[in-house]
């Protein structure tokens, strides 16, 4: 992590430190700031988060690895996630999974060769009444049909 990025992380963390009586509570926010900046939490980035929080890198890695939204491996610049839990499954989520796999040319869990898009199945996103749900960089698309996959992918690539 560059000195500028480290300084930036420290500034962001310090700006919200007053919200909590214990600095340990800043772990999730700090990991999120770092991931937003770097895309994923490399060992180098985790060391910097630990430094800012005055915790150990091992502790930060242990916490990060517990949560599905933190990435300990490189991922695409954009994250496309589809819920495959019961309510989405019952109304055809698997066909939407297959449509995205074919639109992207990768299997679920993979990243496109150009490093732009990671596509993965996830657990319930809380959009069960508007299923199937696909989240693009945490923005929900609801009632997604297989025929919508190509347009959603095109939109991501257009905005990239």
């Amino acid at each position: 992590m560059s000195p500028a990025a480290a300084h930036d992380l420290r500034t962001k963390v310090e700006a919200i430190a007053h919200r909590y009586p214990d600095t340990r509570s800043l772990t999730l926010p700090a990991l999120r700031f770092a991931q937003e900046e770097h895309g994923w939490l490399s060992p180098d980035v985790l060391r910097e988060v630990a430094e800012v929080l005055d915790l150990t890198p091992a502790y930060c890695q242990a916490v990060a690895s517990f949560y599905d939204m933190f990435h300990l491996e490189p991922v695409g610049r954009h994250m496309v996630e589809i819920c495959t839990n019961l309510s989405c499954a019952l109304v055809g989520a698997q066909r939407v999974v297959e449509a995205f796999e074919s639109a992207l040319g990768i299997d679920a869990g993979g990243t496109t060769e150009d490093g732009e898009i990671t596509f993965r199945a996830v657990e319930c996103l809380g959009g069960c009444g508007y299923a199937p749900v696909v989240a693009v960089d945490n923005r929900y698309h609801q009632n997604v049909r297989p025929e919508d996959a190509a347009a959603i992918v095109e939109e991501i690539r257009g905005a990239a």
Binding site: R24, L28, V63, F66, M69, T84, L86, C128
Partner: protein, 442 residues
């Protein structure tokens, strides 16, 4: 009984995310009234209202507040559980999206009741849009001086179902892995930062302004006798009009499914209803005249849970449903207690074996025996949540499990509505524990 609106009142007509609009319909008047009451009087009022928790356990909020060690020298905390992650539940999301000020007002009332100056709202990380709306509402309320000397912090989770369990939530809020704590001590005595803590669901807290405005006596006469008020019911799966419907507690389940949600999609046949989110025992079509309240559902040996109904039509293979449900709980088990960590994985392995046609009749007994080894032997309810539905599927649809075993194949033969569904745990490392992927039926 029809649709009622209390929590979502006026949200269809006005943009209640704006402070001025919320105040124009009487918003924050209940807070004013509550702040004129003593802490004791307010807790007594909450008790009289018999407002029961909407998150899952149905514990009365007044009793919870009365357990807070108010004489402790430590700060007292109000924690709002907005980590809505139960499959089938999406009610808290609508409250935060459309009536965030009702939630903030309720939080401030709860804080006044237990003499707290610190409110934390723990919102699941995936709810980004809801976080933005809620944070903007907190900022607006703060700028208008409504918060007074109370700090309201919206804290984002990072993707872990278990953080909806209250003690796991507290650990996560403290910056740790979200793993449940042994109890006692319970949070009202020793919760966040080891201080007395009141933890409540979004809908429970957002109902407090309604209780205070109406008066507890009047509120207690609404809804069901054993459970006053309204609930926002999330209904999803194979119905014509899935969505959220706010109804009086005690409304018959049949009315919700067939009138409000328009019945089974495509005119198909109802097979099962999972009434409280995916973690509760399922009901069969002959049981849906039950009133939707805690006690009536308990009589049918299931739970009100998160007021979230998943409706399943006759195209669904119940073994596949059991497998997909259990894969979820296996994925979300935090790993702290052995019976849950190992038991959920073992259940998945057995269900996979049955689904691909390699099961034996003794596997059904084995599944039941695993159930007995998880129930009551773990720190939190997650392991039980894996067990309850599967056990009910085996009880009610035993023929289907037996058919898989006797025919040596899935009798749905590629026709099940959830055929081939991919669980996240099957990614990255390929299918977990199986040589043949789930989709392949011999």
């Amino acid at each position: 009984m029809g649709l009622l609106s209390a929590l979502l009142k006026d949200a269809d007509k006005r943009d209640l995310t704006k402070l001025a609009e919320y105040q124009a319909v009487g918003g924050y008047k209940a807070l004013e009234k509550a702040r004129k009451m003593t802490s004791d009087a307010l807790i007594e009022e909450m008790g009289k209202a018999n407002l029961r928790g909407r998150g899952g356990a149905g514990f009365p909020i007044g009793r919870k507040a009365s357990l807070i060690a108010r004489d402790s020298p430590k700060p007292k905390y109000v924690v709002v559980n907005a980590d809505e992650s139960e499959p089938g539940a999406f009610k808290d999301r609508q409250v935060m999206n459309q009536v965030p000020h009702r939630l903030i007002e309720g939080s401030l009332i709860a804080a006044h009741a237990i003499e707290s100056k610190d409110v934390f709202i723990y919102i699941r990380g995936e709810y980004l849009a809801e976080y933005e709306v809620l944070q903007a509402a907190v900022d607006e309320a703060q700028a208008a001086g409504i918060l007074g000397d109370v700090s309201v912090v919206v804290h984002r989770g990072a993707g872990a179902y278990i953080c909806g369990e209250e003690t796991a939530l507290l650990d996560s809020l403290e910056g740790r892995r979200g793993q449940p704590r042994p109890r006692p001590p319970f949070p009202p005595v020793q919760g966040l930062y080891n201080a007395p803590t009141q933890v409540n669901n979004v809908c429970t807290i957002a109902t407090l302004p309604i209780v205070i405005s109406m008066g507890a006596g009047k509120f207690a006469k609404t809804g069901a006798e054993s459970a006053p008020g309204t609930a926002i019911f999330s209904i999803s799966g194979n119905v014509e009009r899935p969505g959220n419907y706010e109804l009086a507690l005690g409304t018959p389940m049949r009315e919700l499914i067939y009138e409000h949600a328009g019945g089974i999609a495509g005119g198909r046949t109802l097979k099962a209803v999972i009434p409280g989110g995916s973690s509760v025992p399922a009901l069969t079509p002959d049981q849906i005249d039950v009133p939707l309240d805690y006690d009536s559902l308990a009589e049918l040996k299931t739970f009100f849970g998160a007021a979230s109904l998943i409706v399943v039509d006759d195209r669904c293979c119940m073994v596949q449903l059991a497998l997909r449900s259990t894969q979820f709980y296996m994925h979300e088990s935090c790993g702290k207690c052995t019976p849950c960590r190992e038991g959920t994985r073992w259940m998945v392995q057995i269900l996979e074996k049955i689904e691909r046609g390699d099961g034996e009749l003794s596997d059904l007994d084995l599944l039941e025996s695993i159930n007995g080894r998880i129930l009551g032997k773990v720190l939190c309810a997650l392991g039980e949540f894996a067990v309850y539905p599967v056990s009910s599927y085996i009880t009610h649809w035993r023929d289907e499990f037996v058919a898989h075993i006797q025919q040596g194949r899935c009798p749905y033969d590629g026709r099940s509505s959830i055929e081939g569904i991919l669980a996240p745990s099957e990614q990255h490392h390929g299918p977990v524990h199986v040589e043949k992927p789930l989709a392949v039926v011999a």
